[in-house]
């Protein structure tokens, strides 16, 4: 297994997976690591609960038409999820390398808005909505990944935090794209009804300034 990336909570591995005899596909294995600082019993409980929850969030998102990697296997007892490998690039890299025109990026954000609108309409908060957690596939489709901090929620404030995090990412990492949020919100309001309420909450969240840009 080849290590793709190391995170605070989990590591990602790239692997070949045999879906039927002789029929292999590339997959990502997300493995939640042991934390030695906490007692074993608690550590196992946390890792299995979260593995189960993340797969539920992804499954539910997919059922509601949100493009997320397809899940092939979940093993909460061994703390891993096997999911489809999406061949493509992270949006963060694409935007930093400026390989797309501003118009294409704007168009892309309209689509991201529609996707996040669907996600929120289905009662799911992503929890870490940055361009590093979006993949543009070779086929030009946009995927949301990493639901490790996600929640099932219907609270406007939780949705507002998703938008706040994305907005801050645009302002700090991609500061040439500040006005791009406008396109996101256009798409967002096409697929999500309570936009006004969420934008109201967004003001509160911004006033508190609690969330750090990355």
């Amino acid at each position: 297994m080849a290590l793709m990336s190391k995170g605070a909570e989990a590591d990602l591995y790239l692997e070949e997976y045999e879906i039927s005899p002789g029929n292999k596909m590339k997959v990502v294995v997300k493995f939640r690591k042991e934390k030695k600082y906490r007692v074993k019993q608690l550590d196992r409980k946390i890792r299995s609960t979260r593995t189960r929850k993340e797969s539920k969030l992804m499954h539910s998102a997919r059922e509601n038409g949100v493009p997320v990697p397809w899940i092939l296997e979940v093993d909460p007892e061994n703390f891993y999820i096997v999911m489809e490998y999406v061949d493509g690039k992270r949006l963060r890299e694409i935007m930093l390398s400026k390989e797309l025109s501003k118009e294409s990026v704007n168009e892309l954000f309209r689509e991201i808005g529609r996707i996040v609108g669907k996600l929120h309409s289905s009662g799911i908060v992503h929890g870490d909505l940055t361009t590093g957690n979006m993949i543009l596939s070779e086929g030009g489709e946009l995927y949301l990944i990493d639901f490790g901090l996600g929640e099932f929620s219907k609270r406007a404030e939780d949705f507002a935090v998703d938008i706040y995090v994305l907005k801050r990412t645009l302002e700090s990492t991609h500061y040439e794209y500040k006005e791009t949020l406008k396109y996101f919100l256009e798409g967002y309001s096409q697929t999500f009804e309570k936009v006004r309420e969420v934008l109201e909450k967004l003001k509160d969240v911004e006033r508190r300034g609690r969330y750090v840009a990355r």
């Binding site: 605070a8 600082y37 608690l42 870490d128 508190r208 300034g209 750090v212």
Partner: protein, 345 residues
Amino acid sequence: MPAGNAVTHNGRGSKFGGGCLISLGIEGTAYKLGVGIVTDKGEILANVSRVFSPKKGGLKPREAAQYYAENISSLIRESLEKANLSARDIDIVSFSQGPGMGPCLRVVATAARSLSLGLGIPIVGVNHGVAHIEIGRLITKLEDPLVLFVSGGNTQVITFQDRRYRVIGETMDMALGNCIDRLGRELGLEFPWALSVQELAKRGEKFIELPYIVKGMELSFSGLLTSALEKIGKVRPEDLCYSFLETSFAMLTEVAERGLTLTGKEELLLCGGVGALDRLKEMLKEMVSEHGAKLGVTPPEYSVDNGAMIAWTGILYYKSGTKHKIEETVVKQRFRIEEVEVNWR
């Protein structure tokens, strides 16, 4: 401060290397009243305190304030004696302006105002949380740490960005220190409850599952406390204390770890009274070592509420141009750390 009362240096150059400024700080937000005397070189000349310990039940703000009022003058005298100074040697007075319990804050503010007016020296109202961080930075010598601030009234993860301390993680309900106290009290342990809980926990053998609630950078302790209180009388108190501390400290360590990843900081500072508990330090140490980061722990004398932290932060405020008019010294029970513009960093 009245016009014409320009502050000059106290002239104690021979003893403190010349040109130094001496600050007296009064802390009083909960049940500890503290007075500290610190120079602008960061020398701590005195740090004395008295603790209000309720005879029965929890902490009653009014009784604590009454205790403060009875003790504050003699505690200030005690600090001066300890520092071998007279009141005239003090250049600025600072006090904990909030957050905290109203009646306590008001006693402290009143004492600070009378010192300021009586001695004709500037007064600075200091944010209690900022003071915890600044004394921690002074003592541990950490440059730009992520801060885990855990006390009786606060449970926060704080980072420094754009001239302000910003809370990036926080309890959604109760402060952890308060929960530990409550558990100790309900178990009939002795004050200070947190230390008693820790003593019992060291003899714990069996881990009992309790609610573990972390959502991203947010924590929740009220469910954990309720569940633990329900188990009193049904399980060994040792096991209960052990499981309670293991669970809650793991929650803190998890958000601290996530905070380090989010902010990219390479240092972690633990401050606040709960930081005096051994197991929490141990867990954080284990966690930061995996990240190649550094842990700084404010020693107990300065991690619990204390006067020295207020005195030192008063100096930082003052030297960066902040002093308050008497009418600006109104206490702020809900004084958020983000409100303070940090001009000294």
